[in-house]
């Protein structure tokens, strides 16, 4: 068993037009994407998304740019910006989903790479917004890496994990549900306000806990389920399942993202091997999710079906220990898996002793520590609007407005990726998945890429009448090691396709 697995993170960012609450968020999101796409030569029809089965919602209310200096003429080459949907040279998808700009990171194979390309997404969003904000004093758009407005709306940060198709879905549901209910104590982002519309004052561990109302289901926008049943593998369907995880917060702490992806991958490995810990089924998963979220002391007990009661910490220790035993028994321990296991134990140990010691690693603890200090200094009740404002501004992507970025820049948050690595990941794809082929094709031949998706690229080859579609059904094919030399020697897309046919023969 290994932590390595094809995985990825997708985030819908909060969006607003400062000073213009009537702005239409769909069009605003569209302008964010099209501004970036245009600046990087990724216009629709040139590197657009191969996307015919869904259409975003349209809104009949008119969009008006509220500010004279965001030149509307620069965007008029796009008929409907809410349809903006492009592939980036780092292999990610950048588009409008519902009423939010979304960055779906490229497929990676390790939790550390997931951290890196997730942070690259923040940087893409920041740059896109900067293009629309020539005057930072009077910004037209602000983006937030959070998951709720505290008034009843929630928007997602999803994870995707490639699994073996033969694993029974019932096993996934049974063994993953208790883990998902508990893991928020490591990867919750923290929230001021309790209840979907914050009708009760206070702090809770998770941004999303109050928005989950079912145990299992297909929905993602209403009656959200802890386990989502979407079956859309974006890969050879009889070999793979893509587990689409909708119960997660947008993290800014590298360590939290790293453990979120790493520990989930390991728990899936236990389920695939048939050795997930038994007897952890919860009596009331949906209710327990909220109980754990609302207890920053981490002492709250939730009832199990067998009559026992456990803390979130106990549940996570059970999964950790099962993974440790299995790895020990098998004598398999690659360095990346070892690193995740060691950090997992370390964080659980310290959370057990004193959660507040994790303020440099875990989002909700970092946020709570600052909130508590502010409350103490100024004698503030949880109803004080400054605390809710801090919660929102914690996630503002503008460095000059972001409270989290300010703390991180001063070295108060442990980082697992360097600034240089993040900048490189903005334009460079991971080398060890098909994202490499996708991203490199966009970088080299954007003018010939009609569209692309997770599992295909469609080329318009000069001199050929029909479009050429290259399927990418195997997530681990199309790596730099496999086709790097081919792309290097192809002077144009025609040569590339001729050579690719030769390779596949």
């Amino acid at each position: 068993m290994t932590v390595r697995r094809v995985m990825g993170i997708e985030t819908e960012y909060g969006i607003s037009a400062p000073g213009d609450p009537s702005a239409n968020p769909m069009f605003l999101s569209g302008h964010v994407v099209t501004a970036y796409a245009r600046a990087h030569g990724l216009l629709p029809g040139k590197g657009g998304w191969d996307y015919s089965t869904e259409a975003p919602l349209r809104d009949a209310r008119g969009w008006e740019l509220g500010r004279a200096y965001a030149d509307p003429s620069q965007l008029t080459d796009i008929d409907d910006p809410t349809l903006a949907n492009v592939v980036l040279t780092n292999g990610a998808r950048f588009y409008v989903d519902h009423a939010h700009p979304e960055y779906s990171g490229p497929e990676v194979t390790s939790p550390l790479d997931a951290v890196l390309w997730d942070r690259a997404g923040d940087e893409v969003m920041r740059r896109a917004a900067t293009l629309l904000n020539p005057d930072p004093v009077r910004p037209t758009v602000a983006l937030y890496k959070n998951n709720t407005d505290g008034k009843g709306a929630s928007y997602g940060t999803h994870e995707n994990y490639l699994m073996r198709r033969e694993t029974a879905f019932g096993d996934i549901v049974r063994h993953l549900t208790p883990f998902f209910v508990a893991r928020q104590i490591i990867c919750g982002a923290g929230r001021v306000g309790i209840g979907q519309d914050s009708r009760t004052s206070g702090f809770q561990i998770s941004q999303r806990a109050d928005f989950f109302e079912a145990e299992v289901g297909l929905e993602t926008t209403v009656k959200r389920p802890i386990i989502n049943t979407r079956d859309e593998p974006h890969a050879t369907p009889d070999r793979y399942r893509r587990l689409h995880v909708i119960i997660g917060d947008a993290n800014q702490c590298d360590v939290a993202t790293y453990l979120k992806m790493g520990t989930t991958s390991l728990v899936l490995g236990l389920i695939e091997a048939g050795v997930a810990p038994r007897g952890l089924e919860l009596q009331d998963p949906v209710g327990s999710l909220k109980v754990i979220s609302r207890d920053p002391t981490l002492q709250a007990l939730v009832p199990l079906r067998d009559g026992r009661q456990m803390r979130g910490l106990d549940l996570l220790w059970a999964y950790h220990d099962a993974a440790a035993h299995w790895l020990e028994d098998r004598g398999e321990m690659d360095p990346e898996t070892d690193a995740v296991m060691t950090r997992w134990a370390s964080v659980l140990t310290r959370l057990t002793a004193d959660p507040m010691t994790l303020a440099g690693e875990i989002d909700w603890v970092a946020k709570l520590r600052v909130l508590q200090a502010l409350r103490q200094r100024d004698g503030l009740a949880w109803t004080e609007p400054r605390l809710a404002a801090l919660d929102i501004q914690w996630t503002d992507l503008r460095p000059e407005k972001s409270i989290f970025a300010s703390i991180r820049s001063k070295g108060h948050v442990e980082q697992l990726a360097t600034a240089d690595q993040v900048l490189a990941a903005v334009t460079t794809p991971p080398e060890d998945t098909r994202a490499w082929f996708r991203g490199e094709c966009l970088r080299r031949f954007a003018g010939s890429v009609v569209s692309a998706s997770w599992d295909s690229i469609v080329f318009d080859v000069p001199g050929q009448q029909s479009l050429q579609r290259i399927p990418l059904n195997e997530p681990l094919k199309g790596t730099k090691a496999q086709v790097g030399w081919l792309l290097e020697r192809s002077r144009d897309v025609g040569e590339l396709l001729r050579d690719l046919v030769g390779v596949s023969d």
Binding site: D97, H100, H325, L348, T349, L374, I392
Partner: protein
């Protein structure tokens, strides 16, 4: 198995003695120290929207996934 049990971190309630080889020892260094907290709060005072109530009220999002 014996080795594994020994190497597993202690998790008794309130145990202040953590195994010495824990990663993220960073922990002490990389989070805000008590001494730094005042200056962090001072900066937050400057960055926080001056009309917090209005700012919070106007932060309205459409639901997503």
């Amino acid at each position: 198995m014996a080795n594994l049990e020994q190497s597993r971190p202690q998790r008794r309630e309130g145990d202040p003695e953590l195994p010495p080889d824990l990663p993220g020892p960073a922990a002490a260094a990389s989070q805000i120290s008590d001494a730094d907290l005042d200056s962090v709060l001072d900066e937050i005072d400057e960055v926080l929207e001056s009309n917090a109530e209005e700012f919070v009220r106007s932060f309205v999002q459409k639901g997503g996934q």
